[in-house]
């Protein structure tokens, strides 16, 4: 009954209702997007870091993996010691280097990774096989397409960076596989080879850039990181959660923006709903006074007007949540070009909990906005209002 009355009132002014729904829907969409942006990056980054089952990272002291070109020396001994620990179920050493890849055309810069093919978490083979011997190369799918490389093709690869490349220490490689690289950033041409092959090519024998660690099932990664940090004080051992926190600190701008714009969206929603309901209720003072005069309780009037406002907010919020999903895709496509971040990172991640939070926040803002004019209307002095309205 209350809902029917509220619907009829909204339908009585279709343009006004439509515009109000439109305005609140855009604000709702913005709120949802900002909630998605606020938590999306950490969720997405956390998922990406652990997607291959490696929960910990070991890097040079004071750095994050691939943060600098500083490497871990005496890598073989370090990896052996790590593998011997009870807290560790597997170690995947990785050496990274910039390299030049020459095919028939101009040499192009590529990002080369040296890995242990039996224990690695940086690529998934799409075609062919993993590089297991010197002279074998795995090429990222995007790079392979761009450079026209197929399994069986050959390419000349030099590494070491800068003028060192001119010293003729390059090698010829055979492409043995095409792969998707988990952590490749947009536009990055990635290749992988055996760890020792890259170490030799880049002049970094016995070095690795970082290592990825798996902990045994049931073991707490945080506790394992803390325990290993005591045993290996000269290296940085971080869990996925710590890395996410550090990445978030660097990208704190987006969290701050999300907080500000999310708050503004709520304020806009409250203002719009409050204004519309105030004007709408003012128009109906006479009707409300008549209803009160024939015995309708103040509580019933209050509930009916509140239901009208909340119905408006609900319709707008539902429209806004759909709109928000489209806007998030648009904004995501812009931020996909953010340099230095893995292509698989998502800034906007849909999560039911955040959607529910956005919906409840909107309802709360709408309820606050409706409460004031509704309370005023329900408390109108009946006789004086009827007299004034007749005048």
């Amino acid at each position: 009954m209350i809902l029917r009355y509220a619907s009829r009132e909204l339908l009585a002014h279709p343009l006004r209702t439509l515009l109000a729904i439109g305005g609140v829907a855009v604000a709702s969409a913005m709120l949802l997007d900002m909630l998605m942006l606020g938590g999306g990056l950490s969720t997405s980054f956390s998922e990406l870091l652990t997607v291959r089952g490696y929960e910990l990272r070991v890097s040079p002291r004071g750095t994050l993996p691939l943060d600098t070109d500083v490497t871990l020396r005496n890598a073989e001994a370090l990896v052996s010691e790590l593998r011997a620990r009870d807290e560790v179920a597997g170690v995947a050493p990785v050496l990274a280097a910039n390299a030049l890849l020459e095919t028939d055309d101009e040499p192009v810069r590529v990002f080369a990774l040296g890995v242990d093919p039996d224990e690695q978490g940086v690529y998934t083979i799409r075609e062919g096989a993993a590089p297991r011997a010197a002279g074998q190369l795995l090429v990222g799918a995007e790079a392979a397409e761009e450079l026209g490389l197929e399994v069986g093709a050959s390419a000349h690869l030099t590494a070491g960076g800068g003028l060192r490349v001119g010293r003729g220490i390059g090698e010829r490689f055979e492409v043995v596989g095409i792969a998707d690289f988990v952590y490749a950033s947009t536009g990055e041409r990635s290749v992988a080879m055996d760890l020792d092959a890259l170490a030799r090519l880049a002049g970094r024998d016995g070095q690795i850039s970082f290592a990825m660690l798996r902990v045994p099932p049931g073991q707490d990664p945080e506790a394992a990181a803390a325990s290993l940090s005591v045993v290996f004080p000269d290296v940085e051992i971080a869990s996925a959660a710590e890395l996410v926190e550090k990445a978030q600190r660097r990208l704190s701008y987006f969290r701050q923006l999300a907080l500000i714009l999310g708050t503004v969206s709520l304020v806009v929603t409250a203002l719009l709903v409050g204004t519309i309901m105030a004007v709408s209720i003012n128009d109906r003072y006479r009707t409300i006074a008549v209803l009160r005069a024939i015995g309708i309780s103040r509580r019933s009037v209050l509930v009916t007007l509140a239901a009208e406002g909340l119905l408006l907010v609900t319709l707008a919020a539902l429209t806004g949540l759909i709109l928000g999903a489209f806007i998030a895709r648009y904004l995501e496509s812009i931020l996909a070009d953010f340099p230095g971040l893995p292509e698989a990172i998502r800034f906007f991640v849909f999560q039911p909990r955040q959607t529910l939070q956005a919906f409840l926040a909107l309802l709360a803002a709408g309820a606050v906005a409706v409460a004031i004019p509704a309370w005023r209307a329900a408390g109108l002095p009946i006789a004086r209002t009827l007299h004034e309205e007749e005048m």
Partner: protein, 251 residues
Amino acid sequence: MPVLVEPRLARVARLQTGDPLRVSGPGEPGGCPAVVAGVFDPLADPARLAADRPRVLLHLPHLAGLTGRRDEVDRFSVRLRADGSDTDVAAKLGAILPGAQALPTATVSERSSTTFAVVSRFHRAIALITIGAGGVFLACIMTLKVQERRSHVAALRLIGVSRRTLLGWVIAEAAVVAVLGGVLGLGVGAIATAIINAYYRGVYETTLAFAMVTPETIWLAIALAVVLGLAAGVIAAFHLLSRDALEEVER
């Protein structure tokens, strides 16, 4: 070995000129004895905003020795003669330096500004959505305002005031509201700009400007306000004038 440290590191580590230090290369425990030769003011560089590691400056041979990278450099900066063209020289150097690339400063600047270009595009998209919301809000408010005055407007129509005059009146009112809102928004924007700059300059200890109100921004804001105002006015006016004047007066 003399070392220059940046102010943040000097403050955090309580370093002063003349203090002894030990500086070590990667994976080299112990390190070499050094002395703080001074505190340097780093150039305001947007590309280093997110960098959380403090910087120290050493003489090139000292760093090369520490890192085991003798006779190596990451890059050169080349100063040209007054009549030199940076693109021509870059092309010539590129041809004679195999495996290296020579880039004009403008190109380096463009490439290192990718982050800011993306953030700028993101801001524009957010602004577009905000303008959409603002436009709908304005149209809604104008519709409410004219609905309040529908009987008054109907009476004006019955005494002979033309639809065109009333249309112009509503549109002009909406445009004035929008422009006033736009000007107010510019004021809020200027205050927000000052707050943003003060906050982020403090956070990042830099003199960089993070937000700026430029003449282009001002004109764009005013122009958008006028366009949105006119559009909202047209919607509200047609809604108002589409009703029958006699019916409105009777109501």
